[in-house]
């Protein structure tokens, strides 16, 4: 999986990802959207609450606030003590966690299906009644600072990717890391969190997704009981801040302790939410193009760059049509031994030039379609994944119904359309290139035979 390092960084949705059926929907009076996908294969349920707020909604100086708030959602409400939420879920045999992205913040519980009521009660409680106590905020802020050190500061490719985004986007809030800049994190105040919570955590800014061994009518009844009494909020949409047209190629270098260089390149591209009227096919063509390059071991990058020409130790391409703002079409790679970044970059550019000048082969598209269709079957083995697609599509504003039609729409993409998007969007004036330039990491070991004899710490 080393060739998929982008997926680790980006949470890209694999092509074979999207799909659903027999979903039932209801909207409560306070605006909460409830989606139910029954699946009786096992007596379990996944409950997910999706809020339409993420780092893409954040201001300068307060980046990462959505993620910090996500942490605080486990730290007590007006009626529940800090940690009680997790203890109650644990006592009921549940798994729980949450995740924050540019476009959303989501919370989930996986439980035996007879515990649905408990999950609803807890999620409804923390939707409007979070405590945000200063004494809980202080240690949790330290946790988030440690999290940033672990994920970003001490990980050379994450660090490079962070700086790459900041270079690629000049105005779009996608220039900020989801976890926030270190200096912003240090300066959060509890009041910042309180107003962020009040502003975004409301039934009319959320989608509740339930998948598993449930009856939709019963889910709607329980949702009405627990979430129905919650007050809605006036949601002020944030200002658009669209990225202005890029006026020439940009390059940055990131020097960090590392062993191997890494190259990442990104072209500005539209997504479904920002596609021009009449050009809604373009994001699908870009998804198909990413799969032609990197949709498996039979795709071009593995076959040509890794195996045949042996320029890359690993190489990847990534694009997702499902974000709220315009995105990048990404290429990345690590040079093979004896090759360098310049050779790798030239080879990646050559690959792009080829899709601009030559139509892709029908066999390549056929193989991708076959993988997509198989993926639709495989995804039914994961409740969580199915629920996640519904929640994500609904929250980014595309509508959960897209899960049902995605494969059909992407399968309709033609070689000519792929060539057209390559010509229109994969242009060097809209390209940003970042190179990780490895700095020494010499490490030394000092074994000693007993504990506690090692002196002070610098």
């Amino acid at each position: 999986m080393r060739g998929r390092s982008l997926a680790l960084l980006l949470c890209l949705f694999p092509l074979a990802a999207l799909g659903a059926s027999t979903v039932q929907q209801e909207v409560l009076d306070n605006g909460l959207k409830v989606l139910v996908k029954p699946d009786q294969r096992a007596p379990v349920v996944t409950v997910q609450v999706w809020y339409r707020v993420g780092s893409g909604d954040e201001h300068e100086g307060l980046t990462g606030l959505s993620h910090m708030l996500e942490h605080m959602m486990f730290k007590g409400t007006e009626t529940l003590a800090p940690g009680d939420y997790s203890r109650i879920i644990a006592a009921n045999g549940g798994e729980e966690n949450a995740f924050t992205s540019r476009d959303y913040t989501a919370y989930y519980q996986n439980l035996a299906s007879d515990r649905l009521d408990i999950a609803f009660e807890l999620e409804a409680d923390r939707m409007r009644h979070l405590k945000l106590a200063p004494e809980e905020f202080a240690p949790e802020l330290q946790v988030v600072r440690e999290e940033r050190r672990m994920r970003t500061e001490d990980n050379p490719r994450s660090l490079t990717y962070e700086r790459f985004n900041a270079a690629a986007f000049e105005v779009s809030p996608y220039r900020h890391p989801v976890i926030g800049w270190a200096s912003d994190i240090e300066q959060y105040r509890i009041e910042d969190l309180r107003s962020w919570y009040r502003q975004w955590y409301a039934p009319n800014n959320a989608t509740l997704v339930v998948a598993g061994d449930v009856q939709p009518e019963e889910v709607f009844r329980l949702a009405e009981r627990h979430f129905g009494p919650l007050e809605s909020e006036t949601i002020e949409p944030i200002k658009a801040r669209p990225e202005p047209e890029q006026l020439g190629e940009k390059r940055i270098q990131v020097k960090a302790p590392a062993q191997e260089p890494w190259l990442v390149m990104g072209y500005k591209t539209p997504v479904l939410a920002t596609a021009k009227p009449g050009a809604e096919w373009e994001p699908y063509a870009l998804e198909m193009l990413a799969a032609v390059l990197d949709g498996g071991s039979s795709a071009r990058f593995s076959r040509e760059l890794v195996r045949s020409r042996q320029i890359a130790a690993s190489a990847g391409a990534g694009y997702s049509a499902f974000s709220r703002r315009s995105e990048l079409f990404l290429l990345e790679g690590v040079p093979a031994r004896g090759q360098d970044i310049a050779t790798l970059e030239a080879a990646l550019r050559e690959q792009i030039e080829r899709v601009r000048t030559e139509p892709v082969q029908p066999e390549e598209l056929e193989r991708i379609r076959t993988q997509l269709i198989a993926g639709k079957v495989y995804e039914q083995d994961s409740l969580f994944y199915q629920a996640m697609q519904l929640g994500m599509l609904e929250t980014v504003g595309l509508g959960w119904e897209l899960a049902d039609t995605y494969v059909e729409r992407i399968s309709a993409v033609t070689p000519e359309q792929i060539q057209a998007v390559a010509r229109n969007y994969l242009v060097s004036d809209h390209l940003t290139v970042a190179v990780l330039d490895p700095q020494p990491t010499e490490s030394v070991a000092t074994p000693s035979t007993s504990l506690g004899d090692s002196g002070h710490v610098h």
């Binding site: 996500e70 062993q259 198989a374 090692s454």
Partner: protein, 447 residues
């Protein structure tokens, strides 16, 4: 970018403690042996038109001998050429029918997994490809060379991660001369020296019917599964099951290894030999560890280190049960200047837990969590096939899942206290720190 709020599970992905039972309908496991001696475990799952196959050979990195990385490189080369096909041909055949195939090695086993549609043409192509990969890998010199070079790049990238550096150092210190000491990915020196003959010899020795377990879950009946197992493994000579591994010796003294690393945090791992699969103390140790550091946010380690003091984003402990006792391991990572204090707190939390044992309240909460969550552990074909492979490979009882809940329920606080006192020795732990905390004292060059 996705941010998981915290790491609930240890990072090591294989052989985790995935266990538990309830009144839920359990998969009905059938078992038999193929004509060439492979053990089959099968559960029918007719709901979806797909099948999952896991093949486990007793061919983990513990069998690498003088060539650390051999099992893993052998596995990686399977898909690079086999039978009549080169890597392109194999990839096109599999992806052309939407099949997914992976091959890798951990310390105990080489595992090859296939997920395919059961539609006849798809399954036929996938199975023919898989059978060739297992029985007739090519190990073409140019593929061997390419995979070796790319592995060397990957090994260097691993050295960029304080966690990977710490993990390798800990296993080496805990297992010393035992075959579990080296990382399955191998060492640069060994990878450079592995040649085609070494790979072919490893394959010939270990990719054998009697050395294999195959788990099958999917939309097949017994007859279909029998046929499938024969088709996949039938070309392999019977051979013999690999000899049992020796147990790792207990540690005799505490030991701390400090590795200087240019990172803002110090990563701390502490460990010692723990327990094996089927261990008589398995359940008390499993439940006890659940309380100590195995239950995410509600564990004692999380409470002390993260919730109360904000010292680390992730902290946990686990036993990794292997064929022979795998490690008991604890971990955290924190800002360099507070690493000493955090390490002391982690070890103190362990000591206190061993001394006092679990409270009845903690034990009750752990039992409820494990048994209440049992349905989640077997709610997908992907989960069930992993259980079947584990049960088959480690020779656990076929009613392992059926008895699991009752065994958890029957664990007492006294059993946990007793098992921890006998099996976990804080005065003989290996501790590894990677970060600036280690940037002092006499320096020893390290590869």
């Amino acid at each position: 970018m996705c941010i998981d709020r915290r790491a609930l599970r240890p990072w090591i992905a294989t052989g985790l403690l995935l266990l538990a039972t309830s009144a839920q309908a359990l998969p009905e496991i059938q078992s038999w042996t193929t004509s060439n001696g492979a053990r089959v475990l099968f559960a029918s799952a007719p709901e979806l038109p797909m099948v999952d196959v896991h093949i486990a050979f007793d061919a983990g990195s513990a069998r690498d001998g003088a060539h650390p990385g051999l099992a893993s490189l052998t596995a990686a080369l399977l898909t690079q050429g086999a039978g009549a096909w080169n890597a392109d041909g194999i990839a096109e055949r599999l992806e052309g029918v939407g099949a997914e195939l992976h091959a890798s090695a951990d310390r105990d086993m080489t595992e090859v997994t296939l997920r395919s549609l059961t539609r006849e043409d798809a399954l036929e192509t996938a199975v023919a490809t898989l059978a060739a990969i297992l029985a007739r890998p090519t190990f073409a010199p140019e593929d061997v060379e390419r995979m070796r070079r790319n592995r060397l790049v990957a090994l260097r990238q691993e050295q960029e991660s304080p966690r990977e550096v710490a993990s390798r150092a800990l296993w080496r210190a805990v297992f010393a001369n035992h075959p579990y000491a080296e990382d399955p990915q191998g060492t640069p020196e060994a990878i450079k020296a592995i040649d085609r003959e070494t790979l072919a010899a490893f394959h010939e020795r270990y990719y054998r019917g009697a050395n294999a377990v195959i788990a099958i879950v999917g939309a097949l009946d017994r007859a279909g599964a029998e046929q499938l197992a024969e088709r996949i493994l039938g070309e392999l000579p019977r051979g013999a099951r690999a000899a049992e591994l020796p147990p790792a010796p207990e540690l005799t003294a505490a030991r701390q290894e400090r590795i200087a690393f240019p990172s803002s945090q110090t990563t701390i791992l502490a460990g010692q030999p723990g327990m094996r699969r089927g261990d008589p103390d398995y359940f008390p140790l499993y439940v006890g560890n659940h309380i100590l550091g195995g239950s995410g946010l509600v564990s004692l380690l999380m409470e002390e280190i993260r919730a109360k003091r904000g010292l680390s984003y992730s902290t946990y402990s686990y036993f990794l049960p292997l064929a022979q006792p795998g490690p008991f391991l604890m971990s955290l990572q924190t800002r360099n200047d507070q690493a000493e204090a955090a390490q002391a707190l982690m070890l103190e939390t362990l000591r206190r837990f061993i001394e006092r044992g679990p409270t009845e309240e903690e034990l009750d909460a752990a039992r409820k969590n494990i048994t209440g969550g049992f349905p989640l552990r077997i709610d997908s074909n992907a989960d069930i096939v992993r259980y079947l492979a584990m049960i088959g490979f480690y020779g656990l009882e076929l009613d392992y899942l059926a008895r699991f809940t009752a065994r958890i329920e029957s664990v007492t606080a006294e059993q946990i206290r007793d098992a921890f006192a006998r099996r976990v020795h804080p005065e003989r732990l290996v501790t590894v720190s990677v970060g600036e905390m280690g940037a002092h004292g006499p320096e020893v060059a390290r590869q």
